[in-house]
Symmetry: C2
Subunit: 670 residues, 2 copies
Amino acid sequence: MSQQEMSCGLEYTIAPDLQGCLTEAFHANYSFIVTPVVHPRFRRHHGADGNRVAGFTRSDMILSPQDWTSRLVGRLSHYLNVDSPCAEVRQRQEDCLNEELSYCKGLGLPAIMIALQGKDNHNLARILLSYFESSHHPSVIWTQVPMQCSRTRRQANTEDQDEDEDSFNEPWSWWSKFHQRLQWDKRIGVILEMSADLPPHEIFQRWLGEPVKAVIVPTSIFQNNKKGYPVLSRAHQQALTSLVQRDAQVVVRGARRATVEHYLQYLQRVWARRPNPNDDPMMSYARGWEDYLQTPLQPLADNLDTHTYNVFEKDPIKYDQYQKAITQALTDLKRKREGDSAVEQSPPKDISAVMERLQIGQGDQKPEEKDKPITVMVLGAGRGPLVRATLNAADITGVKVKVIAVEKNPCAVVVLAAQAREVWRGRDVAVVAGDMRHLKLSPKADIIVSELLGSWGDNELSPECLDGAAGLLKSDGVSIPCCYTSYVAPISSARLWAAARVAAVGPANQKEKNHETLWVVYMQNKHDIAETKPLFTFDHPAKPVRDYEGQEVTDHQGLPKTDNRRQATITWTVEQDNVMHGFGGYFDCTLYGGEMISIVPATHSVGMISWFPVFIPIKTPIRVTKGETISATFWRCVDSHRVWYEWLVEVGGRCTDLHNCNGKSSEMLL
Amino acid sequence: MSQQEMSCGLEYTIAPDLQGCLTEAFHANYSFIVTPVVHPRFRRHHGADGNRVAGFTRSDMILSPQDWTSRLVGRLSHYLNVDSPCAEVRQRQEDCLNEELSYCKGLGLPAIMIALQGKDNHNLARILLSYFESSHHPSVIWTQVPMQCSRTRRQANTEDQDEDEDSFNEPWSWWSKFHQRLQWDKRIGVILEMSADLPPHEIFQRWLGEPVKAVIVPTSIFQNNKKGYPVLSRAHQQALTSLVQRDAQVVVRGARRATVEHYLQYLQRVWARRPNPNDDPMMSYARGWEDYLQTPLQPLADNLDTHTYNVFEKDPIKYDQYQKAITQALTDLKRKREGDSAVEQSPPKDISAVMERLQIGQGDQKPEEKDKPITVMVLGAGRGPLVRATLNAADITGVKVKVIAVEKNPCAVVVLAAQAREVWRGRDVAVVAGDMRHLKLSPKADIIVSELLGSWGDNELSPECLDGAAGLLKSDGVSIPCCYTSYVAPISSARLWAAARVAAVGPANQKEKNHETLWVVYMQNKHDIAETKPLFTFDHPAKPVRDYEGQEVTDHQGLPKTDNRRQATITWTVEQDNVMHGFGGYFDCTLYGGEMISIVPATHSVGMISWFPVFIPIKTPIRVTKGETISATFWRCVDSHRVWYEWLVEVGGRCTDLHNCNGKSSEMLL
């Protein structure tokens, strides 16, 4: 039966001509769909003819054992319905399915293809889960799903828009529930069968968050262009390109309406149309890091190594922005001082202004305020990029600056000191080794410059460091950055969620911790369920805490006490059925005046590569329905020696556990 | 402030007079609510007067350290609102709450009382979870919740029935979500504040599934009876009794409208009205086993010990039922034989009837069918209770029986043999040691009697044992039992679920397994979400499997092959909002004719104590809403050396994981 199917059609991956260029295609690393799995049951029924693979007899194929275990995809018999309502049919077909699975196991195929025919897949999922549980090297499962359910489409006789959407929504829902039942296992991929009608944009986008391994393009949806070559409509071509960009393979299937080579040539043109990483610094930088989870740095607790400095200093945008911001701040300060000296002659308006001006001068000799150099402290100077930016800014503005570079990492201090001696010779640059939170320096700074932000803004403890260093800044001093905000968006990404689950490195209970921690990751295989919204904002200098009577509270050093704990609840409306696996986390930051840096998708500083976003998982993915409200609460908690986040999500009446209670799974050490 | 409350009211537990009978009450094991927690903050504000506990100064109280750590309940300040929408208020009150919690920790109080004022308790739950995480010996938390939300009731001006229900539903929902946020921790209890209006029956019943530690009865809902004593209305009294039956303490609170002693006397009468365990064999037998989880027996893989036999043989009902069933079967068989010998003279109607009759006689001498003894095999005879039942039945019916007692447990065989020698001397009783599945005995049995059922029917592998022993039974023989069915009902029981979670005995990943296994438990603190429904049915002798052509399949011994795999999906409609933690599992069984045994609640064989039900947990409790459909699928899976169950639940679009995939967490060994 399946042999006949084969002889009248074709079913190859992007490499089209199995007979001719098999070896070539193999070298090009294509894989092949074998149909059907050459199963003893078929041999029994079909005799020697059953012993065929993809339409040619096995003797035609010179397949090394390695090819069998890396290039062939087994296709399970599509007619097997292990979810039949009839118990006898179900049991028998279950036995057949298990027979085919163990034959695939015996052949050592790297992947097995199955097709979902409807929403009832409980038993199929159960059998496959058992297969994973009981196999040492289970094959990957490729789940074939149509883009559109033709049954639903046929039923929708009317022009009803909603029913039409249903026909596209349904197969996604089959797949999503099937994937859930297989616990979002990363060994389960999806093969999308392209339909003649394409779904609305949003519904199609949702597929981009799924692990699409291949897309099946029926020959029937190709059109002939003027020259008679098979081509796809613009919409199909765009859809195909966006899937291929995410590394989906292409399978052409159906009646042979054109020469096989023409399909191949067309697909190769589509392939070539993918954006060139060299055109985008982020893309070329992040190549190979797609969806790869990293634990966030803890630059306060740990000292960075030279490789990390190398990477960060290469950012083509970040230090430009800093330099612009410092230039702006120096200009403003210069203007202000000139104004101040003009005012100096006139009597002060009230006593507090006098007091303030006296305080500004604290520790200075202060004969000629205007001519004194502006003190710029670079806190966390690393190997000096911000010192360079400051000196550049001073040159641009013609302002005399005294730079004090504070750094706690002894290795970086050595580099800084060497530069001060040699590169910055003749400039007023002092290097101070130590933790900015525990130093007392004189003179106090007019400007503090720091780059302590993590991928989620405050998550590398910038607020605590800068508040701890508040005593180094004059009372009207400027902090660059002066303000930053973290952002979150609820996302769907089985891939990231499953990657976090298996990232376990340590004791068995690590797995639970993996879903209670932040991951730095260049997210690709994900879909935003709703827009990105601001979460926590920090200002510098920070506003001091007030007590019950409204008085500002000070600490033992007399510095204003600040409170960097935060709690915020954010809500989103769900636009289409989806599954939420966690959040994407970003930040933006005002350095000074109008100078910003941002990794928020909508406002991302073009070309800035220093930060990948964070993925904040939730322990149990939540299925969300169109129209529902996602309500997420985040806490930033602080105690004497650490900072951590806690979070929970509520959708409808359902609520996740509280994540990372008491910082049990992840924390940042002070 | 709280002192004033105290002086005009009273707030004691069931022991009323703190001043007078403190010691006495302590001896009687009552606990006391201390209000407020004597906190330094209060001392500061109120001076020496703050140093009062429950309305009398500390100097009045001779409290041993042990009393402080076992008898006092600390009440946290009710005005603290750590979920205030105002960030400043929230942060300050959070600091206060933490101060009070650590003071309670310092005092070593066994329990702390807090009050839920509304639905927003995210932050409160978070703080308490942190408290549990960070404390070595955390106090138990008693959560005070009104039975009716007075705010909602006031808003419901109309006579709208639904809104009225809402006012009762809401506080349950506050509590339930709060409890969920605390991960259904068993250290969280509820204190129910009785309202003047009582909720509808079903809503009240739902509270019985919650861990109600105490019930607060305001003095305002007492009425004076003719003699002027304070009494409760019949409805209140019934509600109170049902809570007290589940070990809830009683707190009388409010203005002192009668002598304290009168309240106490009344409550003692209520207390006395609880059913007497001595009136109910199950209740007296199960005392102390309430909600205590046990792993099911595996009598096939393990040999039972003498204690277990002792317990089971004490059942006053089970063996009576067996005896009745055997009596009935002997009677029927006798009648049939007499009929048969009458028919013997007439020529057989067709060849198959002849063949069958020849088969029946297989291995017998068969001169006078009618006078031959009836062969009764007791399979799994244990220490002989079913042999006794058979001999009794033979005496009753006057039928001559040959009893063959088969038992695999060598210890039990010794006891059986001794009884055959001494007690059953002169009766035709043969003892055979061995596994019923591997024996060949002659003559074949007319009747097989067995008692291999577990709490969930087939879960001790009765189907596999009896099918394995099918060769011992004549082709028209009778099996007692002839049919059994397992039953399930979705239940809410945070207590059982939490108990399963902490039942971990072994490696760290055991916890997950605990929610993928059956637990035998005398369930008390639970609430049925919907009715109990039948699941899997097994008949004996079993129907043989048929192949593709409809032929019966036989195994290598020529016995019909049976298939004891099962799959069934059951659906229920949710009647009111609830949280599903798993299933209650039961069975009923037809022994022979009309003789049944059952542990299904609606048809429970009165006085039968041999089986507690099973609790089948789900890994993550599911919140279910009125009108939703719960759909549960269960599989009974069989391979060559074991049997196991798998299950999953779907509510709305949400689906649990598949539980116990491939029997990874629990299995029954063949």
